[in-house]
């Protein structure tokens, strides 16, 4: 294992341990997915079979709120948390580069977010198959939508992480960083909800365009965050 990978792994493990023992992060990461999944699940289970024909759009798209918001909670904490604890200076005094640090922290936010998001999708799909009327389940879970959902999840999570990092590096309070990060992904959520309520009708072409835009924003976000990660400004608080 080369030195860069060792450093990335060290930060990744550290972040994971910190998140696990941070009650505020754990509770938020549990509450938000449950809150997002509960309403559409109750709605789908309660629908009579006769309503299946009337289901337009995709209730599953609402679940994109999970990969949008959950990583923003961790990413919002990532930089400002180090500053508040006074750990940023010793961290940056080592040989770790800005790119390695951003990558390690990004991975540490991405992996649990994907696990939670996919876990919640799986729970939603299983619960719908078991408890919803078969006709409703068939209408709610068309496989092309499920596949699109799986593809959008990491793209949205990565974008949320870059936005969270950018905010976390600019503010001096953990809660402010997390709230701003969560709010900043609202435009993406709005699009998802409009699709969910069939205001925007999802087609294959639209799905490809959205995926391409998210991919572009992810690449742009990576470049901007790594370029804007200025250790001197973070340590001294100067412009």
């Amino acid at each position: 294992m080369n030195a860069a990978r060792t450093r990335i792994r060290a930060i990744y493990r550290k972040e994971f341990r910190e998140y696990r023992r941070n009650w505020s992060i754990v509770s938020t990461m549990a509450a938000i997915p449950l809150g997002i999944v509960t309403f559409p699940l109750i709605l789908v289970i309660a629908l009579p079979a006769s309503a299946a024909q009337g289901i337009g759009g995709d209730p599953l798209v609402i679940l994109l709120g999970i990969p949008a918001i959950v990583p923003s909670i961790m990413a919002g904490y990532a930089i400002v948390g180090e500053r508040v604890q006074g750990t940023l200076e010793p961290l940056l005094s080592t040989a770790i580069s800005s790119t390695e640090l951003v990558l390690a922290k990004g991975l540490a936010a991405l992996v649990p977010s994907l696990a939670i998001s996919y876990g919640m999708y799986a729970a939603f799909v299983v619960a719908t198959e078991i408890f919803a009327q078969p006709a409703v389940a068939a209408a709610v879970l068309p496989w092309p939508y499920v596949v699109a959902q799986l593809a959008f999840t990491p793209l949205l999570a990565v974008l949320s992480i870059w936005i969270g990092f950018a905010i976390s590096a600019r503010v001096s309070d953990v809660r402010v960083a997390q709230q701003l990060s969560a709010m900043s992904v609202m435009p993406a959520l709005l699009v998802a909800y409009l699709i969910s309520f069939d205001v925007i009708h999802m087609t294959l072409a639209l799905a490809i365009v959205i995926a391409a835009v998210l991919l572009l924003l992810d690449g742009l976000g990576w470049r901007l965050v790594t370029a804007a990660f200025n250790p001197e400004r973070l340590i001294t608080g100067t412009k």
């Binding site: 341990r17 910190e18 750990t87 250790p231 100067t238």
Partner: protein
């Protein structure tokens, strides 16, 4: 105490600054700082609060960029391209311990062992914990440690990097009890013995005097640089202190005209301060003259100025001006 690292002896300049300075907009943090420090040297960096010490350390440890001058750190020119390589060759103990409170002592150190990409991180962590006498506290969460223990963990973290040629210690004994202070001093002596350069920022002048080969006094600019003895000689006239059991009837007759004695003053009943050009020449002559005058001599000794006297002489006016 367990040996921490086994480094070969190096020679030459480990750390050099030439006209180094840092400004934040209009505010000058430090300016025109120049020095050269050899391998295995313990260099004390002293100065009042706000003098620019921490910013100098951050600059030399490649965390922030200088706005003027040049520097060489661990044999590498301080440039943008060399930052990561410099940081691989140094270790820094910042003023604030900066530990992850939710992680245990061992987990904090394991993280940094990974950041230094050490070959055998577990063994290294075990050894530095033994060095700072914290082996039995390895699984304690850092958030529950006392200030002194956090300081020791921070020192242990700085000792992790066995490739470090230069170690920056910012107030390493702040908050420690006397026994722990002694342990830290032994560790610093050990680093010196293995050819590691120690850049020690401290407010404890007696610590600097005890540990440092040379000291620099900073108050935005360097006010003095040298061995503590040299600074004393530079700043203070050499004096002999004479104590007699009672006042001399005519001290002028005893002290005037003696070899190497340039002047004298009475400082109390039976207490005389003699300004001399050469203490070793003056002392025997003064002794003979006192005996010849029939005085009851209690003691004759050199007047010792401490590093604190040097500090007050050079920096005291600045601090008074700031207030």
């Amino acid at each position: 105490m367990e040996a921490i690292v086994a480094l070969g002896q190096r020679t030459g300049v480990a750390l050099a600054a030439h006209g180094l300075g840092k400004r934040f907009g209009e505010r000058v943090a430090f300016d025109d700082v120049s020095f050269e420090i050899g391998y295995g040297e313990v260099f004390g960096f002293l100065g009042p609060n706000g003098a620019g010490k921490t910013t100098t350390v951050r600059t030399l440890s490649a965390l922030i960029s200088p706005t003027s001058g040049t520097a060489t750190v661990a044999g590498l020119q301080l440039t943008e391209d060399n930052r990561a390589r410099i940081r691989q060759r140094i270790a820094v103990m910042p003023e604030a311990p900066g530990l992850y409170p939710r992680l245990t002592i061992a987990e904090n150190l394991e993280c940094f062992a990974g950041l230094y990409a050490l070959a055998d991180p577990a063994e290294r962590v075990r050894r530095v914990l033994a060095a700072v006498d914290l082996a039995d506290r390895a699984n304690d969460p850092c958030g529950k440690l006392s200030k002194g223990l956090r300081q020791k963990v921070s020192l242990a973290r700085a000792l992790l990097n066995d490739d470090a040629e230069v170690v920056f210690l910012d107030e390493p004994t702040s908050g420690l009890d006397p026994l722990a202070v002694r342990e830290v001093h032994e560790i610093i002596d050990g680093l010196r013995g293995r050819g590691v350069t120690v850049f020690l920022t401290t407010h404890r002048l007696e610590e600097a005097e005890r540990l440092c080969d040379r000291v620099a006094l900073l108050s935005t600019t360097l006010r003095a640089l040298g061995r503590p003895d040299d600074l004393r000689e530079l700043l203070f006239a050499k004096t002999l202190v004479v104590r007699t059991s009672g006042p001399l009837p005519d001290p002028g007759r005893v002290f005037d005209g003696l070899p190497a004695v340039e002047g004298w003053r009475v400082d109390g009943e039976g207490l005389y301060h003699l300004t001399v050009s050469d203490q070793s020449a003056a002392a025997p002559a003064v002794t003979r003259a006192l005996v010849a005058s029939g005085a009851d001599v209690l003691s004759i000794g050199e007047s010792q100025h401490s590093l604190e006297d040097v500090y007050v002489e050079l920096i005291g006016d600045d601090e008074a001006g700031d207030r």
